[in-house]
């Protein structure tokens, strides 16, 4: 077990590096840097630009500094933009540790703020969960609870009442949740509840009232709800036909005990395993929903950052999201072994 964990954790390092390299290459292929070539912005004069480049380390080589290597300077060889961001390097004569120390870098556009300030720090006088990441995390968790609290019972009931109107109704919900893309579903809900019924504002100005959270939560969680209901139904149907269920009934156990203790406990194993990736997907995949509802979360920040070519913000977001997905998958593998002792890691 420990060996498995250590190997998975070590494997994280190359994966993160490759993800960083891909993002870095793509970002730098985009015409226009954060300061210089954006024609819609006021042009920065040469002296300021040089100072800015020095401050953000843009005066360094992008990948590897062969000029320094030819002088025999091994440290200088790696003292480049990429390695300064990932590991660390000297910026304005001072050594700064990079991503591996949890330092997400200075934002290029929101002057004087680091990326972790923007994402993790709540506005003045607010609680920690009012930060951008806090908002996204809350929305993701709410959507997860919504999906599980409705999806699991829906699947169980439709399996217990197979081929009855209840089953068909729940299958209809599940199918529509799988077939209608979530942003299209969002559009439908906004038009119905915000435009026609005026029940909630189309674009809320404040997210303090619980009412305005309802729509984004439903939209974000609906796809997962459908998936959960389908999976629960399928796995319940399989478990119901097992010999040990017949045995349980034969020895005279009450229906309630059979369903809760014998069926549900086994049927939920596959459901639990999709929860990890689902939560990661909800947090990372929410940026289209966040954009739609003008939600003050991390996802919308990413969309803005990419429009502004905020290199460090883009890189940090991609890396954190990739990390989240990896950790989620790893957690599932671990949970699986606890739930189903027949399965061995490796």
């Amino acid at each position: 077990m420990a060996r498995f964990l250590i190997r998975r954790l070590l494997w994280l390092i190359p994966v993160m590096f490759v993800v960083a390299i891909i993002t870095f290459v793509l970002m730098h292929m985009a015409p226009g840097g954060p300061f210089d070539k954006d024609p819609s912005q006021r042009q920065v004069d040469a002296v300021t630009q040089k100072a800015l480049n020095a401050q953000f380390g843009l005066d360094k080589e992008e990948w590897l500094d062969f000029g320094a290597l030819s002088k025999g300077d091994i440290v200088g060889f790696f003292d480049t933009q990429f390695f300064t961001y990932m590991i660390g390097g000297t910026v304005k004569g001072q050594w700064r540790c990079g991503f591996i120390c949890g330092n997400l870098g200075l934002s290029f556009r929101q002057r004087g703020l680091t990326v972790q300030d923007i994402v993790l720090k709540p506005p003045e006088g607010k609680a920690p969960w009012d930060s951008k990441a806090g908002y996204s995390l809350r929305l993701g968790l709410l959507a997860l609870f919504f999906a599980m609290l409705i999806g699991v019972p829906l699947g169980v009931v439709s399996a217990l009442r197979q081929n009855t109107p209840v089953d068909y109704a729940s299958l209809f919900i599940a199918t529509s949740g799988v077939t209608v893309p979530n942003f299209v579903f969002g559009i439908f809900l906004i038009i119905i509840f915000a435009v026609f019924l005026h029940a909630v504002p189309v674009v809320p100005t404040s997210w303090d009232s619980p009412l305005v959270w309802i729509l984004p939560t439903i939209v974000l969680g609906f796809g997962l709800l459908a998936q959960t209901a389908r999976l629960t139904r399928a796995s319940m149907l399989e478990v119901m036909r097992q010999d040990y269920i017949r045995t349980a009934r034969a020895k005279g156990l009450g229906e309630r005990v059979v369903v809760w203790r014998h069926m549900l406990k086994n049927a939920l194993i596959p459901v639990v395993t999709i929860m990890g990736p689902a939560l990661a997907g909800l947090i990372t995949g929410s940026f289209i929903i966040e954009t739609m509802f003008a939600f003050p979360g991390w996802g919308r920040q990413f969309v803005t950052a990419i429009q502004q070519r905020d290199y460090s913000m883009i890189l940090a977001t991609t890396l954190i999201f990739a990390l989240l997905i990896q950790i989620a998958n790893m957690t599932v593998d671990l949970i699986y072994t606890f739930l189903d002792p027949r399965i061995k890691v490796n």
Binding site: L26, I191, I288, I306
Partner: protein, 330 residues
Amino acid sequence: MASAAVAGGRSVNQAITKPPQSLWVDAWHRLSRNKAAMFGLALILLFFFLAIFGPMLAPHDPLKINSGKGFLPPAWMPAAWVSTNNVGDPQFFLGTDSIGRDVFSRLIYGARVSMVVAIIPTIFITFFGILIGIVAGFFGGTADNLLMRFTDIVYSFPDILFFVVVMFALRDTPIGDWGNGLILLFGALALVNWVGVARVVRGSTLSIKEKEFVEAARSIGTSDRNIMQKHILPNILSPIIIITAFAVPRLIIAEAVLGYLGLGLRPGTSSKEFFVTSWGSMLLEGQTAINAQPWMLLAPAIAVALVVMGFTFFGDGLRDALDPRMRGAG
């Protein structure tokens, strides 16, 4: 009793004398009995029809600006739903957009993008997915290791995030101009999605290559290439078809999402061009007028939902028809 036994015996005899059905005929019979799948197929064919014969079907030029006729609601829409004083014009079936272009005609032309996205990247991902998957599964070793490591990386990269980064980065470069920006879009979609196909192909190849008939082929000196082509590939077609069918709706959704973020197709400027608009761009245009003119948003949203539903139903049906053991799963 006796007659029942005779009848039973006869039907057994008939079953024996009946020529064996191939997997495909059998699958088609199962598929054609599946109402949802047939409904999906009908939807798919309808949208292909719209995409191909768009210019003949569209009542108006999708780019023609009818000045003074902007934001017209559909004529059949109850007045209570319309918050402006504009009155619908029967010749614009689904109303008009901000500068008076016919929404219905634009919707028909928009079908082209989604349908092309359903075909071209799919061909790429199936081709490369099969090629790489079968080689990795058959030879194992370094090729297999590389594939699996690459898969790990692709799976840890949130895919929509990757598309967004690619489209932003390369849109203003020469590559981003080809084919109204669609070539770049196809490239990005294909780059991520072939991995899923390759994994399935690899898994199926691993199980098939241990079978006796592969060993037999090898013992009579069949070349590796022939074994892969003639013995393994025909036996793993079902999982390939199933995974491809499920990839298509995801590709269409990705295109629509990117269009909605303003990163998809670059709309053509003359109606002679093939790609005049896409449903994603129509969603983006509609989003600005969501309060007063919801029809501009509803029409493309319903179109996307229908086409995705068509492909999903058809894919579900294909899976049930080709792999009966999978019925009802997932």
